[in-house]
């Protein structure tokens, strides 16, 4: 039989499982601003494109690669300042049990200080944003699946690996594989911005 915890996490995954990729992104997460924790939503960066990835601090290879490409892309975009100013990179942890805002922020800043580290206060909010991103995640130990909260020591996190570009009105513009080189990523982002500017 399912435990109540099983049912609640299954319920979360199932009820929000059919979000439309054309829907506008919205989220309620928290970030560290100096030493102060503050609530943020998709509205916090008006007029900016959002470059988003999900991941976790103890990720061995995918997340460091993603953040490295974020950093490289921002570097290249800064050579066209009008483009860099329009893009805000965000990194959302899908391991809120282990990633507190302090270590998460320190982690993303190590790659690029412009990346804003975000964390959900509960699994409802986390699952909501992950579902909108059409992403997947889960936890396991020794190959056996686990359900949050209260995960045991030594668990492993799994997740999908896209990088997403959302427009200022929070529509999905483009998706990139995690290992796309930062220079190519910057080129694609700049092209998306130019296309949007030409439409206006």
């Amino acid at each position: 039989m399912f435990s109540s915890r099983t049912i609640s996490f299954f319920f979360l995954l199932s009820i929000v499982g059919l979000a439309n990729a054309d829907e506008r992104l919205s989220f309620q997460l928290e970030r560290l601003n100096g030493s102060k924790v503050e609530q943020v939503s998709e509205q916090n960066w008006p007029d900016k494109y959002l470059l988003i990835a999900i991941g976790f601090v103890s990720c061995p290879d995918i997340c460091p690669t993603t953040l490295l490409q974020f950093s490289k892309a921002m570097h290249y975009l800064q050579q066209q300042p009008q483009s860099a100013d329009k893009v805000q990179p965000l990194f959302i942890t899908i391991d809120p049990q282990r990633d507190d805002l302090q270590n998460l922020t320190k982690y993303t800043a190590h790659f690029d200080p412009s990346v804003v580290a975000l964390r959900a206060t509960d699994y409802v909010k986390l699952n909501d944003v992950v579902d909108q991103l059409k992403a997947g995640y889960g936890y396991s130990l020794d190959g056996k699946p686990l359900l949050p909260p209260n995960l045991p020591e030594g668990y492993t996190v799994m997740h999908t690996t896209y990088m997403y570009l959302y427009s200022p009105n929070r529509e999905l513009v483009d998706v990139f594989p995690y290992d796309m080189d930062g220079k190519e990523l910057a080129k694609r982002i700049a092209a998306a911005l130019t296309t949007a500017d030409n439409k206006e």
Partner: protein
């Protein structure tokens, strides 16, 4: 004793010396590729017959490339998905019929069906290594890090530790589904004829029996987040929870085909009993979400694939590609093709489907967002066959 050197002999000796110097320089410049190949057979399943190709070509972003085999020749074409062109064609050791990729290790594995010879192509160095197997291959899977191989032989399944050159024979009946469970050195084995499903722990060599259905079962699909696996049997859907270790039968009347699970682990796609419909099922509640009518479906391995963030479903039809936008609630769109589909694969960015078709040496690009063919990329292959994506839209572990 004196040695008489006349002008003719001197010229001849000089020419011979020049030829020798030229040969030496050519070998130094181009390496041993010009030397005749040795045909020494391999006897150990460890690193043998390494033949480095001195080449400037370097693969650093796996998601940038797709690898296309040839049905009729030992060749592998490397398709650059950014520049939309074939950037290199590699000569293989045999015409590949079975292929697999270890994405963490950058290896492509290939073999001919019913042979004992397996080859590994290292994508970072382009070195090819031969492995001698004890039995004939019928089916092949590899672990992401390249350490483990499992293959279907005629009477059993064999797990090979490629680092230790050690094979373990696992007695099975008939053809099986083979799946490596990520994050754990475990091989899931589902016997198609008997319905016996077991997990073999690769490190401690123990087998855990999960259940035996006593009926033929389809191939098994596991949720990328490892919550459960699914199969069909006697036109019913079965779900085995890896959380609760329980097998459950569900009330859908479906074709006895492998269920398809989307990469975010949320949707299950199944053919209706006569393959004239596609049923979309919530993978957690196992409730039917949609049912779409279908035209006749082609029998190829990757007959269902999803993309543009798992919202667009593509199904190989007979000389057509059927596509469905799950959120549009419209009938499938049919895109005519000139010939039957050989293979299909979705790019890592979820936006494009690549298709090989019979009697064409081109790769067709199908835009998942627009649901239409946008380009065709010519190759030098005689008959493009399987498409191996450098990366996919699957979960990382």
């Amino acid at each position: 004793m004196s040695i008489k050197i006349d002008k003719g002999n001197f010229r001849f000796a000089l020419i011979l010396a020049l030829i020798a110097v030229c040969c030496f320089l050519i070998i130094m410049l181009f390496g041993s590729d010009l030397l005749p190949p040795t045909s020494k057979p391999t006897t150990e399943p460890t690193a043998q017959q390494k033949q480095p190709q001195t080449d400037e070509f370097n693969i650093t972003e796996l998601s940038r490339y797709a690898f296309i085999t040839d049905q009729k020749s030992p060749q592998l074409a490397i398709l650059d998905l950014y520049d939309k062109q074939i950037v290199k064609t590699i000569e293989l050791k045999t015409t590949p019929q079975l292929t697999a990729i270890s994405r963490e290790a950058d290896y492509i594995w290939y073999a001919q069906r019913n042979s004992k010879q397996l080859y590994r192509l290292d994508l970072s160095t382009l070195e090819q290594t031969a492995f001698q197997l004890s039995q004939n291959l019928q089916q092949l899977i590899v672990s992401a890090n390249g350490q483990w191989i499992a293959y279907q032989a005629e009477q059993n399944v064999i797990a090979l530790n490629t680092e230790q050159s050690a094979e373990t024979i696992l007695p099975t009946t008939g053809e099986s589904t083979l799946i490596f469970i990520p994050n754990k050195e475990t091989l899931l084995i589902g016997e198609r004829q008997t319905g016996r499903v077991a997990m073999f722990e690769l490190t401690n060599q123990t087998t855990k029996e999960l259940f035996t259905r006593q009926q033929p079962i389809s191939e098994i699909s596991i949720m990328p987040n490892l919550m459960a696996f699914f199969f069909t049997s006697e036109n019913r859907l079965f779900h085995y929870s890896l959380l609760n270790e329980q097998l459950t039968e569900h009330d859908f009347t479906v074709a006895n085909k492998r269920p398809y699970i989307t990469s975010e682990s949320r949707k299950l796609l199944l053919f209706g009993k006569n393959e004239n419909s596609l049923q979309v099922i919530n993978a957690y509640t196992l409730k039917l979400i949609h049912s779409f009518p279908l035209n006749p479906v082609a029998s190829i391995e990757n007959q269902i694939l999803t993309g543009w963030l798992e919202q667009v479903v593509t199904i190989a039809g007979q000389n057509t590609l059927q596509s469905i936008d799950l959120n549009a609630e419209q009938s499938p769109k049919n895109t005519a093709l000139n010939a039957p589909i050989v293979d299909m694969a979705v790019q890592a960015d979820s936006k494009k489907l690549l298709i090989t078709t019979q009697n064409s040496n081109a790769i067709i690009g199908f835009d998942m967002r627009q649901q239409k063919i946008t380009n065709q990329i010519p190759t030098e292959l005689k008959q493009p066959n399987q498409i191996i994506m450098g990366q996919t839209n699957r979960l990382c572990h």
